[in-house]
Symmetry: C4
Subunit: 355 residues, 4 copies
């Protein structure tokens, strides 16, 4: 927990440094660069490299609560980010040594949870993705063979061998269409039309598989995360596990930084909030402070009236929000929770007279 603030700072900084570094790498390859600019850019790269060296040191020295094995991927990225440019500095000529800083492309993979998510989707759908890729390969080779047979006599310099025809096939099948190799015969053009249509179909299959797999994995991860958060809200603790499953499915987790206005007086509200961690301040005539386990915003869902007070985050707050639709489902099947929420609402309404 103690290293969390550090991580909060280091994630955007680490990514920004990578972006700046990669821009410098790209700039260094432009021809006719004045020697002075080149020199400054190289110093910039050395600076970023030094920052990454510090980060590596911090990563290795400061103890973490996480098991070391779980940190292998990020430590590997950190080591590579330092070692590869250093090795290039030692063994590669000046012209190309900066190119090896492109290893910093891996840095964002270290911070984002998205890539882990993507990895799981690809693993779950591997069988289908391989299947579609096989079709891609079969159509590609078949199209190249047919184009070779059809066009080799008319355009020997473009379709004179299957590898050459395959270049045409991949450019056409992906509907990129550079236009450097174009079949001229009628048969070749009919073939090209069919290849384009196959390309669209294969693309559509790919999109369908990835979209479906993505959607399922996101839902599953949300469930696991919310399950842990729900345990921190007293109101939910006395529920049976069937009701709990329902609630966990309904809630959406959100983290807001200190100072954020969570809901504003006069707005039409379509969600209520449960506080998992942190404090919020309710701007009633006598401001009220709510902490972990409290909830607010329920009145807008019960009465349909606009928000009666502005609520803002005092500290960084971890929230679970419940939309109107799910609130209705929840309260209708769990009269206990409904009663508890309504009782609080009535008490508050007494305490907070509406202007």
């Amino acid at each position: 927990m103690s290293t969390r603030p550090f991580q909060r700072i280091s994630a955007p900084l680490g990514t920004s440094l990578a972006i700046v570094g990669l821009i410098a790498v790209a700039a260094l390859t432009t021809p006719d660069l004045p020697e002075r600019t080149r020199h400054n850019l190289e110093i910039l790269l050395v600076g970023i490299w030094a920052a990454y060296l510090l980060q590596l040191a911090e990563t290795l020295i400061v103890p973490r609560s996480v098991d070391f094995r779980d940190r292998i991927p990020s430590v590997t990225v950190d080591v590579l980010a330092v070692a590869v440019p250093f090795a290039a500095f030692l063994f590669v000529g000046r012209r190309d040594q900066s190119l090896y800083c492109a290893v910093w492309l891996l840095k964002p993979l270290r911070y984002s949870t998205f890539f882990r998510l993507l990895g799981r989707v690809v693993r779950n759908e591997a069988r289908n993705l391989i299947g579609v890729t096989s079709i891609f390969g079969i159509v590609l080779f078949g199209a190249a063979l047919a184009a070779y047979v059809i066009e080799r006599d008319a355009q020997p310099e473009r379709f004179g061998s299957i590898p050459q025809a395959m270049w045409w096939a991949v450019v056409t099948l992906s509907t990129t269409g550079y236009g450097d190799e174009i079949p001229q015969s009628l048969a070749g053009r009919v073939l090209a039309g069919l290849v384009m249509m196959s390309g669209i179909g294969i693309f559509a299959l790919w999109a369908g598989i990835l979209a479906t797999g993505f959607y399922e994995e996101v839902r599953r991860q949300d469930f696991v995360r919310n399950w842990q958060l729900v345990a921190a809200v007293p109101l939910f603790q006395r529920l049976g596990s069937a009701a709990l499953v329902e609630i966990v499915r309904s809630l959406r987790a959100r983290v807001v930084p200190a100072g954020t206005v969570i809901c504003r007086k006069g707005d039409v509200g379509d969600q209520m909030f449960f506080i998992v961690e942190g404090h919020v301040s309710v701007a009633t005539p006598e401001p009220v402070d709510l902490g972990a386990g409290s909830f607010f915003g329920e009145m807008a869902l019960i009465t349909g009236e606009p928000r009666s007070a502005t609520v803002s985050a005092v500290t960084e707050v971890s929230l679970l929000s419940l939309y109107a639709v799910d609130f209705q489902v929840l309260t209708s099947s769990n009269p206990d929770i409904a009663d508890a929420i309504r009782k609080t609402a009535i008490e508050r309404r007494g305490a907070v007279p509406k202007e």
Copy 2:
């Protein structure tokens, strides 16, 4: 409520003026335009500008029921639509001043609810969209770097630096394929094939995320809106909230202008209707007038026979429609509602003899 008719007129008018204005802006840039045409087009622009000035005045002067803060976006658009062309008129030479009228592109954003919807989807899916965009960036830079290394010696004028190679990479990764920069070596072409396939995959991920996010947000908004409308139908008011949730999910809201034929005698009906606001006329031998809270079209769902009478809107009518599939679900789980609907149907059938 009193400004609603005005808004009804102003929305399509405001958008049409913007379209006409933008066409004029485009026309003014064509070379060799006769001075007379140019003059007329400029007068047209001034006219549209004057109309927008009037609209701005109306917006600021006439009081609205909505809170001012909620109107900030549309007021901002209105102010910009007037101020930017005026500033251009003062400070920019004649050749380019009309270009600043392009700020009218923002006008449609003011009227449509679609953009608010899209904004929410993008906010909800921000984490995943940023993730895919990062992949796009990483593949883009990696591809440009590889293409630069592979092709720089063979085609120095096209792949001579990473920024140049990046142009090729973005054109290929988006499968646009202008054909101005094409790798010639075998390695470059294999790389290009992989980049095209990655492009399709990234596109597919993007489509999947947006489609999923869109679908969920639309369903949520429909629920909130229908929830408010359902309260106006007496038949539904005695239901428990579990049944109410079910109904709200099933209904589809629709607004039809006065005079519309809602269902036509002899048609096969697959939905029944509940009136939220307005009046309809049932063209039986003795025409019947139905008002808010009534329902019609239920017989087609109960007996499966074609519509026995034509129903048309007398005033603008706000309707909730219930499809056959949902009607069955609803009546099977709520015998009360089923009885009420059937009783009305039998009474009507007595009153409206079938020809």
Copy 3:
């Protein structure tokens, strides 16, 4: 009902004639066509025209059970298919008169139910489709304006006016990329990259909206159709409407021509069948004939063994099939149906000894 066989024949014939006719129209436009071929093709067109005239006569004369108003679209297509070429014959020169036969493109719209389905989807999703199209328009104009400002001095012959730049913008935004207009400056290329990415995003939104809308409409139509078919199966008639809804959702309708083998002895079965209309023959040692209201194939779902006999259609058969997954759901929540099916299965097993 009596005209059904005629329709069965006329649908593929009408479509085939249209295809042949359109190929002839296309062929007639090729330059240097020998006069003799031209003559023959024209005679072919006249023949198809005569066939459509006959069809129009049949449509107008033979009485139909359907209400005339419902037939307006198809009658309109039939009238146009005859009238437009005839008018062209009278008033247009010989070179172009055959082009007017392209009105036959409308013929497939007359037969397929797909276009009605598509029409409903577009109507349901109109608001969202218009929204995305607006974004397309806004990005298009914005991109053209920016490209014009950026590139007009460097490439006046390509980006010299907004309409010219708009051609580049539409070619790029749709990721078509002809390559005839390409920005050369750095700013122009960054703009182009952003436009390509927007194009992919807009495309993704479009795909998501259409896919979702399509899916919902297909499910709704299936439900309405199956609902009517289920009424013909005695086994289902004593069910309450809640169970009926469940069954209607599970079943899939299918029509097979006479002679088709519906299931084959020894196959692994994952569905059972209910006969709505027609007869099937079960190839047991003593062949059994089953008619409307019967079911078969249930044993494979109960015991998991391969099919014990081949079943083929004696007449054209309208079937409802029930997959293993839905069979389990159905029988577990409706013990009555489960008992009835199991009893029949046991009787049959007695009668049909397994080899």
Copy 4:
């Protein structure tokens, strides 16, 4: 069962041989190939051919448990893979005879189950896919006709006939955009813009239909397969069929080779496992061996603690895995199963003290 190990080896081998063979075929078409290389490649092809001959022999001679009729597709592929190259060797000149080895493209179809899946999806969605393809055809012909009329006078060598214009139309509608035929007039460019937008729309429809159909078919197949596996787990056998359906929907089947680490001590667990076939070893201080019908990994789901021991596969293991979300649903609606799992968990916790 006895031929299973052979199949396990033959599937990747058969596919690899096909890939190597096709690369050789492609290489043989490159011009100016040294005679020696050509000779070696031809010997390679003969070798692969011989391997396929062996495989064919094995297929025909060794008896299989599967019905012969079910094997027709794969036997056909095997026969063609041998017969076509042999016939080409006899009757075709040396230059082209190797091309006939491209029949080996069919080999992957023989092994993968993906193609059968795809076949079913296409069959199920045939009506809609044909509908979209008709739209594609109609738009294609309409666009070609319009482009021909608009551009024939300005560019007779490119748009001089409908077939020529159709080449432009297919290249544009698929957003390939070679850039060899480009409309020059304003009307032609507006047409092109509309064609590109239609292309994107058609693509979106296609993607939506395939994605939906694919998703439904995959779910159905998973259900049928899991249904059979669940029968092998004693814990599930006493459940009623309603609960069984629920479980079968929740489980995910997986086969892991011997030696795989299934879960690792210290990991956060989000799933538990049921063994259908094979043995695993639990690396507790006194290693425990679990066989078919056992389950493990339940503690992580009950307590939320990290895995307390590493589990690895001793033999090839067929597993059913249950995710946290489904575990909660399952145990909340089936107290019996919940009790059985918890009891085992407590016993094990006694036996396996946590470090």
